[in-house]
Amino acid sequence: MQRLISGIVFILLLIIGILFVIPSGESDNGKLPIFGFKDVDNKGDTIYHKIPDFSFIDQDSNIITNETFAGKAYITDFFFIHCPSICPKVKAQMMRIYDEFENNDQLLMISHSIDTRNDTVPALKAYANKLDVNTEKWRFVTGEHDLIYEMADDYFITALVDEDAPGGFDHSGTLILVDKNRHVRASANGTDPKSVDEFLVKIEKLLNEE
């Protein structure tokens, strides 16, 4: 009997503990949380995870850096053109975001190709044309292989070269929202329309906050 009671107490404590550790979806001030580990600098200020400098090349051979997104929030994802699995489904969800915010110049979009061998600039151009989007708003970029995979890490996205995965790449269909201060503020499962419903609300919220 005693063992049973202490067992129940233990489990209860465990549940309470877990509830405390899991951060709630929103931080205390009602704003979207900032993703990643925090650090404190020697002046006592909190340092958040920040998207590092990058330089890629887009479907029109423009050089795309953090400057391209200066003062704006953006949505990002990783994909490849000859993707037999989830990519088109994820692109259809990206398209929903595009349609919703097409005329809001506070939000841009960038899709990174992880197939640096096949997805050349002309291939990306053809792809963008087929999606029929304004490429000033939504860019498709390629670049140095290692840099693209490092960026995926910085956005907390999985992207791997994997011979066994469909099409030769293993990647998640995650969509990421980055604010104008280069902080990751929200993510969504791009294969799940319901997850993207919530994401649309979060984007709206961030744009109102800024």
Binding site: P84, S85, C87, P88, K89, M95, N129, L131, D132
Partner: protein
Amino acid sequence: MKSNSLLSDSKVKFIISAVAIIILVFQLSNCSYQPFSQGETLYEYHCANCHMPDGTGLKSLIPPLANSDWLKEHQEELPCLIRKGIKGPLTVNGKVYDTEMAGIEYLNDVQINNVINYINNAWGNEYGDSNVKVVRKALESCNSQ
């Protein structure tokens, strides 16, 4: 069996046949509610990522299957298209598409038949029923390649 046994022979037979009948009835009623349920499952797994769950495709990248005149008019080509893929421009409902579709080689003849029956009859399509014999015949032209 001994006469004092709890279940007599005839009772056992009765129970077994009753269970069999119940299972059969359930099976049949399932079928009549969902005409191409295996085809639907296969579609969701192998095709919906590209052609979308509602068969609408994606902009000029991926052609629709729902209400597609190409699908309606190229029925004999479907088995080979599914197994070997298709390349080069094609026109669906007046719009030109030109993206390669890779073949889905690991679907067997029966599964291909089920997928065809599903896309022919889903989303308001009424493009007729296929059968495995016809599918096998059509596949002869591309199996050797």
